[in-house]
């Protein structure tokens, strides 16, 4: 079958065609790729890897819209994209841009669909059926007469897809369609894409950062790194290369990490990685089951052989406990991160495994006890929400919010878009003032204190760093916050320089000339330099790649360890589970549940109210605790789960040896 898109040794660099060829790095570097009709392909990679450029090459925006130097050839449906117009290409390849607000042309959903249909000269007697059918396929028939401005993010994304799909393209290219969505909406968008792919046979190429979604929905995953294709294959093939992925800076599904780790330790037989919780459950229960069987069988010869092999593998696993890069730890080592809790754990790795296990149990019994030595409970909370209520003139409101955050604690707010999480953060930093109840930040009532004064105690990192940046150089930018607090110019610059150096940012560069991830780092640096008592994070990791996301979160944990209280709104449950101490679930403007992260994730009622799926590891350990062994209860991290399995298997064989 002829591929619908065939990219043949394409290289591309942005910028003017003349001169400076050596200075401009290649956005794409000799990429060859063929997409078969009807495929569902996911593209992933760290930021700056060339994912969006690849999408532009497929959609014809390169060479027709963006200027630059292009080598090689791209064939869409057999025709060279350089020889046909962008309009012709877009009748075959429909693309949904990253910024859907910029893509929309109309104020009403129906008109949005009409625009393309009218332009491409679809006969007017067919237009009505096209609109009805497309809306029905996407499942948004009820939105037909709605104003686009009143739609939620997920609905808007569906309208954007519908507007392209109505043109009946043979292929859809989407650039991070779920970046601004909550997990439930993100899933819905992918389900929509699957429907389109299955029922209409439309080829789908989607750039996405959420590995769990990619591995579940895509048939093929392309991993990009530095303008090249690093890996290309089925999700199972791609995620079995966890070491390469880690080096590139791409996350793997947590279940794949568990299975890869178990295979590397020789506990599980080599095979494809587990992509779903069910797969992983199967694997772990069979491994543990076999070990138990071996123990029961006593001196059975087969078990003898097996125990010998476990014994042989015990050495590498204990070696990893003594600081060699283990699955989890290596990520942070490669991320070249600062000293963090986790690296401290790497140091703790030098303890015996039993001690580490005991430490884990202790940690789980206490509400994430890592800050316990600071005695959270005795310290006065720095953020206090006391029966806080607020209503927008439009009608949306939050009611009766009650929580307190102590110094050194990371507190997460989770829930669907529109649940009131952002409103809560705005109440916190004083941008909104409560109509009921009281918000106190470091003892200051937000109703009596100007926002600029609250800013001295609470620093906010916004989802979009571009709204925060306003200076000409990185140094000015980072020093600006300090200057606003009345720190003298020279001292402010000195402190700013120290932080900039630690982040490895270019001091004299203009913030807006940096990449998205680096701009977020600049924004983060200007928060860190303030050494605030409270840090507010609104979606700190959206739009960042895995490595950047880790750097941001590690920095935040480090700030927490130094005594800052952190309040974060986050849609990525893996991040919440890895870094937060406590979480509150919000739904319909209320807090429906609040407690240690582990407890929240293990409570199905809360998960349903928040419309989120628990992180894979929590789900897996819960299932294992119910079906295999109570020892799995409460585990929230890959390394702990792997250790437990190893201990069960090897512990079993040791017990048998003693007998």
């Amino acid at each position: 079958m002829q591929p619908i898109v065939h990219i043949d040794h394409v290289s591309f660099s942005y910028g003017s065609a003349e001169g400076a060829e050596a200075e401009v790095p290649l956005a794409l570097d000799d990429v060859s790729l063929a997409i078969e009709p009807g495929a569902f392909v996911g593209v992933i990679g760290p930021s700056g890897a060339g994912k969006s450029t690849l999408a532009s090459v497929m959609s014809g925006a390169i060479p027709h819209h963006y200027a630059g130097r292009l080598f090689g050839a791209t064939y869409v449906d057999g025709r060279d994209t350089c020889d046909v117009t962008l309009t012709d290409i877009s009748q075959i390849v429909g693309s949904v841009l990253q910024d859907i607000d910029a893509q929309m042309v109309a104020s009403v959903v129906e008109d949005e669909l009409l625009f393309g249909l009218e332009n491409f000269g679809v006969p007017h007697d067919q237009i009505e059926t096209r609109i009805t059918e497309t809306l029905a396929t996407i499942g948004i028939s009820d939105l037909r007469d709605r104003e686009i401005a009143t739609l939620s993010g997920g609905q808007k994304q569906k309208v954007a897809i519908a507007a392209i799909l109505a043109l009946r393209p043979r292929m859809l290219v989407l650039d991070e369609p779920t970046a601004a969505l909550d997990p439930a909406s993100a899933r819905m968008v992918f389900e929509t894409l699957r429907t389109v792919n299955h029922t209409l046979g439309v080829t789908v190429v989607v750039i996405e950062q959420m590995v769990a979604l990619l591995s579940e929905f895509c048939e093929r995953i392309v991993v990009m790194d530095e303008g090249r294709i690093a890996l290309d294959g089925t999700p199972r093939e791609v995620f079995s290369h966890s070491a390469e992925l880690r080096a590139i800076g791409v996350d793997s599904p947590r279940t794949a990490r568990v299975s890869n780790s178990l295979m590397a330790k020789g506990v599980a037989p080599h095979g494809a990685p587990c992509l779903t919780v069910a797969d992983a459950y199967e694997l772990v229960s069979s491994v543990v089951g076999r070990a138990r069987l071996g123990r029961l069988a006593g001196f059975d010869a087969q078990a003898e052989e097996k125990s010998a092999s476990y014994g042989a593998h015990l050495a590498p696993s204990s070696r990893s406990a003594f600081g060699a890069p283990d699955d989890e730890l290596a990520v942070f080592a490669t991320a070249a991160a600062m000293a963090t809790d986790r690296l401290t754990f790497a140091a703790h790795g030098a303890w015996s495994r039993d001690a580490a296990r005991a430490a884990f149990e202790e940690e789980l019994n206490a509400p994430r006890g890592r800050h316990e030595d600071q005695g959270i409970q005795s310290v006065v909370p720095v953020v206090e929400f006391n029966h806080v209520g607020f209503a927008y003139p439009g009608g949306a409101a939050v009611e009766d919010l009650c929580f307190a955050v102590h110094p050194g604690e990371i507190f997460a707010l989770i829930g669907q878009n529109g649940a009131g999480k952002t409103t809560a953060t705005k109440l916190l930093n004083g941008l909104l003032q409560p109509t009921e109840g009281r918000v106190a930040i470091a003892g200051l009532d937000t109703r009596d204190t100007p926002v600029s004064t609250i800013a001295r105690h609470a620093a906010t990192l916004f989802q979009n760093p571009d709204r925060q940046l306003c200076k000409n150089t990185v140094l000015d930018e980072v020093a600006f916050g300090l200057e606003l607090q009345g720190v003298g110019g020279d001292e402010a610059r000195d402190r700013a320089r120290t932080v900039i150096e630690r982040f490895g940012l270019p001091e004299e560069a203009a913030p807006f000339s940096l990449s998205r991830g680096q701009r977020q780092m600049v924004a983060l640096a200007s928060v860190v330099v303030l050494e605030p008592e409270v840090i507010v994070l609104d979606e700190p990791t959206s739009g960042l790649d895995y490595r950047e996301c880790m750097t941001v979160m590690e920095t935040v944990s480090e700030m927490a360890a130094r005594g800052s209280a952190v309040v974060m709104v986050c849609h990525d449950m893996e991040v919440v589970s890895d870094f937060a101490d406590r979480a509150a679930v919000m739904a319909d403007g209320r807090i429906v549940g609040c407690g240690p992260v582990g407890e929240i994730f293990r409570n199905p009622v809360y998960m349903e109210r928040a419309s989120v799926a628990p992180p894979q590891i929590v789900a897996l350990s819960e299932q294992l605790a119910r079906g295999v062994s109570a020892d799995f209860a409460g585990i929230g991290e890959v390394s702990a789960l792997v250790d437990t399995v190893v201990e069960m298997v090897t512990g079993g064989s040791e017990a048998r040896a003693h007998a």
Partner: protein, 248 residues
């Protein structure tokens, strides 16, 4: 967030008029406002606009717009009084002629702004663009530019709000009472806004081209905008308004 120029759905006669007719009606009211010279006529035209707004069910939006416009009109009034030296002094530097010209300038400002806004409130921008292309033979390129500009007003004002919030949260004193200080603080905020808007405009151009923008002709529009008897009546009203404007 609702915006004053957003379309308000409705089924009144005003909504049902052809977009071009609505444009003509607004233009006629504006022309009349500029032509008439007496206070009663000026006030009459304003009342007409407000009555039409009330009929179309957008009175509340119109009033919230007035809250913004009236202070501007008052500034204009004060300036006129200060600069008009002719006439007899009434109080201090204020002359009777100053009061008259100031009052008229003030009413004209409102009389010019309100009909246009009212027209936008009762017309979908896509309809306006399509009807102008069909009836007035305006090239679609310009109609699209116009509607896109209108569509970006709320998008940019939201962006501006978000930037101001972000800067306030950083400690920039936007909450200061001093308007001059506020203005100087606003300037740096324009940089991020400019950067975002350039990126957005580029993305819009690309998205439009990928949806066949360059193929569009006058016949492309699915909806047709024929003139009806209702429109004829409205055009007659326009003529009457302009004639009255010349006479009064």
């Amino acid at each position: 967030m609702l915006n004053v120029i957003d379309y308000v759905p409705g089924t009144t006669l005003l909504h049902k008029l052809n977009p071009v007719t609505k444009l003509a009606l607004a233009a006629a009211i504006i022309a009349a406002t500029l032509l008439v010279s007496g206070f009663p006529a000026l006030i009459g035209l304003l009342v007409l606009t407000l009555a039409l707004a009330a009929y179309a069910g957008v009175a509340d939006r119109m009033l919230s717009l007035l809250k913004v416009l009236v202070p501007v009109a008052l500034i204009m009034f004060v300036l006129q009084i200060a600069f008009t030296r002719a006439g007899n002094p009434v109080l201090g530097f204020v002359t009777d002629q100053g009061l008259v010209t100031g009052g008229k300038a003030c009413l004209r400002l409102l009389g010019v702004a309100l009909p246009l806004v009212l027209m936008l409130m009762v017309t979908k921008t896509t309809d306006l663009a399509n009807a102008c292309v069909e009836k007035l033979h305006i090239p679609y390129k310009y109609a699209f530019t116009f509607t896109t500009a209108l569509r970006f007003v709320p998008v940019f004002s939201q962006e501006m709000n978000a930037i101001m919030e972000a800067q306030t949260a950083r400690g920039v004193e936007f909450d200061t009472k001093n308007p001059l200080k506020r203005l100087t603080l606003m300037l740096p905020v324009c940089i991020p806004l400019l950067v975002t808007s350039v990126a957005k405009t580029d993305a819009t151009a690309l998205a439009a081209e990928q949806r066949g923008f360059y193929l569009r002709t006058r016949e492309s529009s699915f909806k047709r905008y024929p003139f009806t008897a209702l429109d004829a009546g409205a055009f007659a009203l326009c003529a009457v308004l302009i004639v009255l404007g010349v006479l009064l």
